[in-house]
């Protein structure tokens, strides 16, 4: 072969293609969460962008207090007999925080890539 440059050009293009195809597939775990009541999305937030705050949600006169702190979300307080939702701690993996009596759910909108479901 007398001319080598076509191969070099193709080689470089290929290299870019390969790097590109791997980059395209790496998407980070999302931090979008939803606060849903009776099927209605009340709030949708990106935890990475949200400042520390509390959000109060009412159902039938009973109040749930949702807290976002240090880019994590959990049920701080709940006016319900069980407090199961409060005991669930910070939202993680694919298991939503649920307050049954008040029909309130806190969940990731997109389940993190590495888990499909959480057994509880």
């Amino acid at each position: 072969m007398k001319k080598k440059w076509p191969f070099i050009v193709v080689g470089v293009l290929l290299l870019f293609g390969m790097i590109g195809s791997f980059l395209v597939q790496r998407h980070p775990d999302t931090n979008l969460v939803e606060i849903v009541q009776d099927g209605q999305v009340l709030h949708r937030l990106d935890l990475t962008q949200t400042e520390n705050q509390t959000i109060e949600v009412e159902y039938d006169g009973r109040v749930n207090t949702v807290e976002i702190k240090n880019h994590q979300i959990h049920m701080l307080e709940a006016e319900c007999p069980d407090k199961t939702c409060v005991n669930m701690g910070w939202l993680n993996s694919a298991a939503p925080i649920v307050c049954l009596p008040n029909h309130l759910v806190i969940q990731f909108t997109d389940i993190p890539e590495n888990i499909d479901a959480a057994v509880q």
Partner: protein, 345 residues
């Protein structure tokens, strides 16, 4: 030159294949259907892939509501409630209820009464059913235990008789049983890839759309995070643990909702959680409760004698005991300190 050509060819293939993965994911996301509902005193989410998913999940949701109305222990119109409040007189029930009660009694028999479907009055005394949790007096528990005995329930065809003062409760098997029936329904619609969560009872139909196993996070007892990941296809996964529903008294003592039918008090056999894996949700549901009460040694014996399922036990000494069937399918979370022991048959 030939070597270089071959290298380029291989690299091309790798690139093409890695990009092909992208498209498959997009296609499967298009056919993904999700449905959530509150039922059976819990929150359920169904995810199905494939053409008929929309209609299949609609029927599944309708079915759950239908059987909930038959089996709920608190709904005054349910067949179970009516049987519980008929002063020891028989009640005519539907085929669905007959099948469920029959299964519950069968599992009670197979676990020698460790699974006790008539423990409800004791559960009520602890306040787990009313929301006002309290520690009942010993005498109260003793009296209530006199009316706990699954063998006194009569099921003759479609006639169910619950003796006076006794109460039947399908809570320990209903979700798993329902999951099996929904699975059947989905399969009849041609769905071969779906993942269902019935209040944390997981049922997987087939594998993920890309053919890989479903990745199920197992919650670390008493913590927020996961213990590790279980990879399965075509299986049910059910966990029982004290941390799911408990209360603390003024002295800091913890009482949970899984009661030992012999003592009427929270089962304290040294286990923090039991996860049962098998092909049927009903079996996994029934056994997760029973094995928790039994403790590690007895659970191990039960497994060796009966088989037909796999299990993952977490002891109160931070040990994980796994049966050999799932040893390869469980990955302990990064940085976790539990020891892992594999049980062989």
């Amino acid at each position: 030159m030939k070597l270089l050509k071959n290298i380029f060819l291989v690299l091309n293939l790798i690139t093409a294949l890695s990009l092909a993965g992208c498209t498959v994911q997009q296609i499967s996301e298009k056919n993904k259907t999700e449905r959530s509902l509150f039922a059976m005193n819990t929150y359920m989410t169904f995810t199905s892939y494939g053409e008929n998913s929309e209609i299949a999940l609609q029927e599944a949701a309708d079915f759950v509501k239908k059987v909930e109305a038959l089996w709920s222990v608190t709904d005054k119109n349910s067949e179970i409630y009516r049987a519980n409040h008929n002063y020891g007189q028989p009640v005519t029930i539907s085929k669905e209820t007959e099948d469920l009660v029959s299964y519950a009694l069968e599992m009670a028999e197979r676990t020698n009464g460790v699974l006790e479907p008539t423990l409800y009055p004791v559960l009520t005394a602890w306040g787990f059913t009313t929301g006002s949790k309290q520690v009942p007096k010993k005498e109260e528990i003793a009296v209530l235990l006199q009316n706990v005995d699954y063998r006194r329930i009569e099921l003759a065809g479609k006639e169910l008789t619950v003796p006076n003062e006794m109460q039947l409760d399908m809570g320990a098997v209903a979700k798993g049983y329902t999951a099996d029936l929904i699975t059947q329904l989905l399969r009849e619609h041609g769905v071969d890839s779906a993942i269902l969560s019935l209040g944390g009872n997981i049922q997987a139909i087939g594998s993920r759309p890309d053919g890989t196993d479903w990745r199920i996070g197992i919650r670390a007892p008493w913590e927020d995070g996961n213990l590790g990941v279980l990879e399965i296809s075509d299986a049910a996964v059910v966990t029982s643990g004290g941390y799911e529903n408990y209360f603390e008294d003024e002295n800091g003592n913890i009482y949970w909702h899984i009661l030992d039918p012999v003592t009427g008090r929270p089962a304290n056999s040294g286990l923090e959680s039991v996860t049962v894996i098998g092909s049927e949700g009903r079996l996994c549901d029934a056994l997760s409760t029973a094995l928790f009460i039994m403790g590690a040694e007895e659970a191990g014996n039960y497994w060796r004698e009966n088989g037909g399922f796999d299990m993952l036990l977490v002891t109160n000494e931070n040990e994980i005991i796994l049966t050999e069937g799932i040893a390869d399918r469980f990955t302990l979370g990064d940085g976790r300190e539990e020891t892992v022991q594999v049980l062989e048959s």
